[in-house]
Each structure stands twice: as C-alpha cells, then as structure tokens.
C-alpha cells in the first residue's frame, strides 16, 4: 500500500477490486488467473487462505470451466464472483450466454486487455466489447475508486429481482489495474448492508423443491424466454440509475448511467470509455481556458445501452467524436460510435458524429491526441461537414 492521505488507502485497481470481493464475501469463487487480472485472483486466494472470507475457492483448468463452475454454483443458489481478461473472457464465451440465458446473477471483474492476434497483454476493449451482446450487464470504470465502487453496484443490479442477470465490471488493464490510486474504502458492515442478502428464487440443491435448469426449449418457447431476457436487461437501466443514486446517498459518491464532464453547454464532445476519459478531461480543461466549448461524455453503463439519456445529453452538441479502444472490424468504426450515432438518429437536430479508433493493445492516448480530435471537431462544428468519418488515431 502506498502513502495515503487521511481516510484514504492507496491501492491498485486489482487490489481494490479484490478487496471489494472480500467485503462481498461471495459463496463461491472459481479461479483461473490471467494477466492483467491475475492479482485479483491472487489476493482473493490469500483472503481464502487467511480465513478472511468464507468463500469456496475452486481452482479450475480453464476459463471455460471457471464460468461453468460459476453457472453451476449460481444455479445452486450461491453468490458467485470471478475475474478474468482477454483470452480468458473469450474462452468463457459459450458459457457467458448460458449464464445470462439462465438468468444467473454472477458478477465478474473484467480487466480490459487486447485479444490476440498478435498476442498482447495490454489494454484495449476488444474483450468486453466482443461480449457486449452476450446478455451481460456491463459497467465501465474510469478510476480505481470507480472500479471498486462498481463491484458493489454490479452485485445489486444483477441480483435485483426485476433483473436477475449476470454483470461484468470493466476497467483498463495495467492503466487502472496496476496503477496505485488513493481511494476511499467503505466499511465492511456498510458494504454488507448495501448489497444485502442474496435470496435465490430456486436452488439446484433444494431436494424438497427440485428444479430443472437448462432444459431444452424449442420453437414453442425459446423466443418467449429471450423476450423475457430482453425486457429484463432493459429494466436493468432503471435499476442501475437508482442503485447508483443510492450508492451516492450512502457513501457520498453518486453514479449515473454516464458521466458528463463540462457537457451542459459543450459544442464539441468526445465520447469515450474508461481511463482515457481522464486524459480527455485534461484536454477539455485546457480548451475551456481558451474559451472553447469542449466536453466529455463517458458512458458507465454500456449494456443495457442508455440510448435515450445519452441522446438527450448530446442533443446540444454540434460535433461529436466517438473514441473506441476497439475495432468492430465491420469497416464502419467501433461499437461506441455505432451505438451513439444510432441513438442520436431520433433527434430533430442531429450533431455530426465521427469515429476515431485509438489506443489498441495499450498504445498511449495522450492529452495531445485528445486536443487533435477537438481541433477536428471544431472544424466540423464550424463547417457542418465531417471531413473524415472514420480513422485510427494514436498510430
């Protein structure tokens, strides 16, 4: 632990998230560590060895097995958590859909890392963005503090009886996972009170009231269950908003569905996820000193996607750049660009929107990169024309 100011503790993102998991004390924690989320599993294994938690740590032989064990344990009525990154999340793929389809409120920390090939261990969002349609709730975190706080909120949203879906908390590999930041921890008792007791509706282990999980459904029912699931993830938006507000009341740090930074009167806006939003805010402060109307919108909840709220918040902007730390390989920009641009379609007066892909495989994104994007946005705001719809930056 680093030198801390009063009431604060210096922790890395991984250590802070592992500490949140310790405070949550899940019943089961299947573990298959992978860089850069390894330290979460190491720390948690330490808590288990020290008797600081009562969790059952299951060491498995792959991430596919880790998610399978999560599913089995959750179906048995346990509160379940794990952590992963990149190839690990990719290997869980098949099971991610089964967890969400079976409506199991598993919570995982996904420390964002680039997917191979070429092999790379550093940050981008190709892992979690690849899983964006798997039916999991996705919360993104800019800082260590937010990653820590999101763990508690994710648990509450996932287990809400109007939702009952798995959730992943995403934060940037190495940038957030390994950087030490002074954060405020919540008291164990307050954390426990906030998340409450998990009361599963059914349990595989309840022999007095046996239930079947994962039964086959054919043309007569499959679509009904998918419709229910779709309605449930849509409801997660309202639940996330109220859980974020409640968290603020209790702990003094309120969270919305997205964060707006100097957004109210902004004409040029960068939309960006996770840690790079911090860099962008520094650029905004510089531009504001020059009297320019720059702002940032940082989505926190990406699944479900708060399209109405984001469109409303961006309705006053003239030019917007959506910065994706992942390429959808569609030839048409990244997922953030596509979702945001689509959300804006309903507006009577639509801002101009461009796609910029940055920082893949951990490539640095600096204040000067943000300033360059804002300079382009300014031109577009003045001319009303997008010169280059999509391109890579930080090359």
């Amino acid at each position: 632990m680093a030198i801390a100011t009063k009431g604060q503790t210096g922790l890395t993102g991984n250590t802070a998230v592992a500490y949140a998991m310790k405070q949550i004390n899940p019943d089961v924690f299947p573990a298959y560590p992978i860089t850069p989320s390894t330290a979460i599993v190491e720390d948690f294994a330490g808590f288990v060895a020290d008797g600081a938690v009562t969790s059952e740590l299951i060491t498995v032989e792959s991430e596919h097995s880790a998610m399978s064990a999560c599913i089995g344990a959750s179906a048995a009525g346990a509160r379940v958590m794990t952590a992963t990154s990149a190839q690990g999340l990719a290997l869980m793929w098949e099971m991610l859909y089964i967890a969400s389809g079976m409506r199991l409120p598993i919570v995982i920390a996904n420390v964002n890392r680039a997917l191979s090939a070429p092999i790379n261990i550093h940050c981008d969002h190709s892992d979690s963005m690849g899983a964006r349609d798997s039916g999991w709730i996705q919360l993104y975190s800019e800082t260590v503090q937010e990653a820590y706080d999101n763990m508690f909120m994710a648990m509450r949203i996932a287990e809400d009886t109007n939702v009952l879906l798995p959730a992943m908390v995403c934060f940037d590999g190495f940038i957030t996972s390994h950087a030490i930041e002074n954060i405020t921890l919540v008291e164990d008792a307050d954390a426990r009170e906030f998340i409450g007791q998990y009361k599963p509706g059914h349990s595989l282990l309840n022999v007095d009231n046996p239930a079947t999980y994962g039964a086959m459904t054919l043309q007569d029912t499959y679509i009904t269950f998918k419709h229910q699931q779709s309605q449930a993830i849509a409801r997660a938006k309202g639940v996330a908003a109220s859980v974020g507000a409640e968290f603020g009341k209790k702990f003094g740090r309120a969270y919305g569905l997205f964060e707006g930074y100097r957004l109210e009167d902004a004409e040029e806006v960068i939309v960006i996820l996770n840690s790079a939003a911090g860099t962008t805010k520094v650029a905004v402060d510089e531009l504001r000193k020059q009297g320019k109307k720059a702002g940032v919108l940082r989505p926190r909840l990406f699944r479900p996607f708060p399209f109405e709220e984001i469109a409303k918040a961006l309705s006053g902007a003239k030019a917007i750049a959506c910065l994706d730390r992942v390429d959808s390989m569609s030839g048409f920009g990244g997922p953030l660009f596509n979702e945001v641009r689509s959300a804006l379609y309903e507006l009577d007066k639509r801002p101009k929107v461009m796609s910029r892909i940055y920082g893949l495989g951990g490539r640095d994104y600096k204040v000067k990169d943000a300033l360059e994007v804002y300079a382009e946005l300014e031109k577009t705001a003045a001319s009303g024309k997008v010169e280059t719809l999509q391109k890579y930056i930080t090359l």
């Binding site: 409506r103 046996p210 239930a211 039964a215």
Partner: protein, 95 residues
C-alpha cells in the same frame, strides 16, 4: 409449460418443480408403433424392464400394452421379447 402466478413463464427456462417428464408427451416423435400379440405373450415382462421410456404398462404381473403418449417407437421391446415368443411387432405409424 408451467406459468407463474402472473401468467409468465419461469425466468431462464427453469422448470420450478420435479417429476414433470411424465407431462411431456413424446409419443408424437414415433415413426414405428409396437403392436402386442397377447396370444403369444408369456408375461415375462422383459419388455417392461428394457423399455427406455417406461412406456410398457404392466398390471398384476401382466403385460397390458403400451403408453402411447410416451412410447417413441424405438423398437427395443420388440427386439428384447424372447425369440421363442416374439409377441411384439413394429408397424409403420403411417400405415
């Protein structure tokens, strides 16, 4: 399938109680139909033991016939019926 008190299907496709297989009619899968020749049957009940769907009905130690809601026409009973007797014939459902 069972609905909850609000008339919805149980979330996640969970079947919230046990012993429901009996309510699921698999008879519609059948292409061949077992037909019993009671005159040849010795009531040895080998078919009753061997049927994978518990679709052979026995009462008071006697082979009565087939539960056509669950018999899926696999023909195991006809094969397992002793050679000397061969009291079960499989016939095309279509005939």
């Amino acid at each position: 399938m069972e609905k909850d008190d609000k008339g919805r299907m149980p979330a996640g496709g969970i079947i919230p109680r046990g012993g429901t297989a009996n309510e699921y009619s698999t008879g519609g899968w059948r292409k061949l139909r077992p037909v019993l020749d009671s005159a040849r049957c010795t009531n040895c009940l080998i078919c009753w033991v061997m049927c994978p769907d518990s679709a052979v009905i026995s009462r008071d130690g006697k082979m009565i016939g087939f539960d056509m809601e669950h018999c899926k026409g696999c023909g195991v009973c006809a094969v397992e019926c002793p050679d000397k007797v061969k009291a079960i014939k499989m016939e095309e459902e279509a005939d």
